[in-house]
Symmetry: C2
């Protein structure tokens, strides 16, 4: 038996378990040139919410009744492909299935002797690369500058902050619990952390924590948290927009203070991106992240949930901020 998770219906607002459907089919047999993969680790990420809608976005929508896809680490358990052999571990954008066939396109071998397999979904995978390239290419940090990161304890945010520190910046993280705020300072070496749920005035908290103002705002969340940071940006600030998790489940067009006048008076740059915008720089990013990881300058957190059946719930938990670092399901 081969369990499969399909998109059952498009979520309205916050996704729910009923938006997914479990199914099963036979374990497939690879034909000439294919590999048979066994899923080991499944990445759940906020951006998948966008693919569950039918609105146009940067990646095509999932189809109703078809399997969901995300970043997956799998083991090659049978191969008729010249480049892959039984026992290889690979990463790729694959379907939420226990077993699946691949023609090898988009698969990348990963080496557990270099780093734990799950890390290829996080620090050495999409989220690490996103953090690195968003910060370097758009944030363009200079030593001594102040960086604010929202969603700071998440898979991307926790890496952004550490890279900022490596590059000699002051780094402030915004997060949603005291436990995460503590983690940002102790494990990830942020200079300060703000729990936006408990501070009486976030704008003021940022002002007090950033006496020299904010030069770079790495935005993972959008909404009112971002409003408060924007009120504190410096002249020539750079604002990479990496995510907007606070807005993904809105059913009406979210409204808020218009930001053009701030960008204008501060000569500031706000730029949305997905990691694929910088695909030519992936090798550079992976190389640098691996070096820092090996040198012990970079660390990472994972929230690992066990069991194929728990993939949908792990995804839903992202929107309640239940993860510290990368949320991964171990099969």
């Amino acid at each position: 038996m081969n369990k499969v998770i399909l998109l059952n219906k498009r979520p309205v607002g916050k996704p729910a378990l009923a938006d997914f459907r479990f199914s099963s089919d036979a374990i497939p047999v690879p034909t000439s040139g294919d590999v048979l993969l066994k899923t080991l680790y499944v990445s759940v990420d906020p951006y998948l919410r966008g693919r569950m809608s039918d609105s146009k976005s940067y990646v095509p929508s999932f189809e109703i009744g078809k399997p969901i896809q995300s970043g997956i680490i799998a083991e090659v358990i049978d191969s008729t492909h010249s480049e892959f052999t039984k026992g290889d571990f690979v990463s790729g954008i694959l379907e939420w299935k226990e077993y699946q066939i691949s023609d090898g396109k988009g698969l990348k071998k990963v080496d557990q002797n270099i780093s734990a397999l799950s890390s290829y979904l996080g620090i050495l995978g999409m989220t690490g690369i996103t953090a690195y390239l968003g910060l370097i290419e758009i944030g363009a940090p200079k030593k001594g500058e102040t960086i604010v990161v929202s969603g700071a304890a998440g898979a991307v945010g926790s890496v952004v902050g550490q890279i900022g520190k490596i590059l000699g910046c002051t780094v402030i993280g915004i997060t949603g619990s005291d436990k995460k705020a503590e983690l940002l300072k102790s494990k990830f070496k942020f200079d300060s952390a703000i729990n936006y749920k408990t501070v009486p005035d976030l704008n003021m908290a940022i002002r007090n924590t950033c006496p020299k103002g904010v030069d770079i705002y790495f935005d993972n969340v959008g909404g009112e948290i971002s409003d408060a940071v924007l009120a504190n940006i410096n002249k020539h600030a750079r604002l990479p927009v990496c995510g907007a998790i606070s807005l993904y489940n809105e059913t009406k067009v979210p409204v808020g203070p218009r930001i053009q006048t701030i960008l204008l008076t501060k000569s500031a740059t706000m730029r949305g991106f997905i990691v694929g915008d910088f695909s030519s720089k992936f090798p550079e990013a992976i190389k640098q992240l691996a070096v820092w990881l090996k040198e012990g300058k970079l660390t990472y957190a994972e929230t690992i949930v066990s069991g194929f059946d728990n993939i949908p719930q792990a995804f839903l938990d992202l929107f309640d901020g239940k993860n510290e670092g990368k949320m991964i399901v171990k099969i």
Copy 2:
């Protein structure tokens, strides 16, 4: 007698004549190293609204009871300065006075044999340079792309559109009257023009006029016009924010649809700027504008009001869109 216009009080919302005060003093006498200037042309510009407030902005606020300043073309009528002689024409940021003393700092000689004196306040001055550098440095237009310009019949917008055409782009202007829309097409060679006051659905009008979507949005106005353009931007769009005239007179924080999700899904860049951000490129800009002007590839419009006493009203008229091209007061 030497007439002077002072800031009487800070405007609340839309500026009014009562925010200005007329005064007079003696015609000054230049002391060693100074020049005596007679004002010939006064530039009135939307950005001056920001200087009338006491909120922090990119330029210092005007002080109550002190003269307003703006771009001015003046004649040297007496000089003890080594670089300026009687009869020279100069441009500079000067005070709203009929006569004034200057130590020469920031003054630049202008030659009416090359171009009309008033043009040094517009096409060969701040607004022309703003149009050129905002479009080239932030918009980075490529041949065949679609550019939308708001405030298109204004001093900056009308130049942006023409440069876009010179560079092989399709250019659509948004403006506030049929007369201006016609001018954009006939005089400034825009491909299309939209009167936002009469179209039933601006979003739809832009969609119909830009079948290939919007690659560059040169924003002079902000507000709902910008919302409608943003709904039509392409992947990797660039959005120079040059002005936000629709918002300058708001007394409450203007709200509108949040734009981060659009920037995110389109990997788009929005960047506020003032021309001074690119000061190292002024010579390049002026040189290129002068060449195109001489070649007849570029033209300009001026709305010239006569009389020193009419400076405040000319400024107020900007907010009602009464100008075509550069608004200038001839003394």
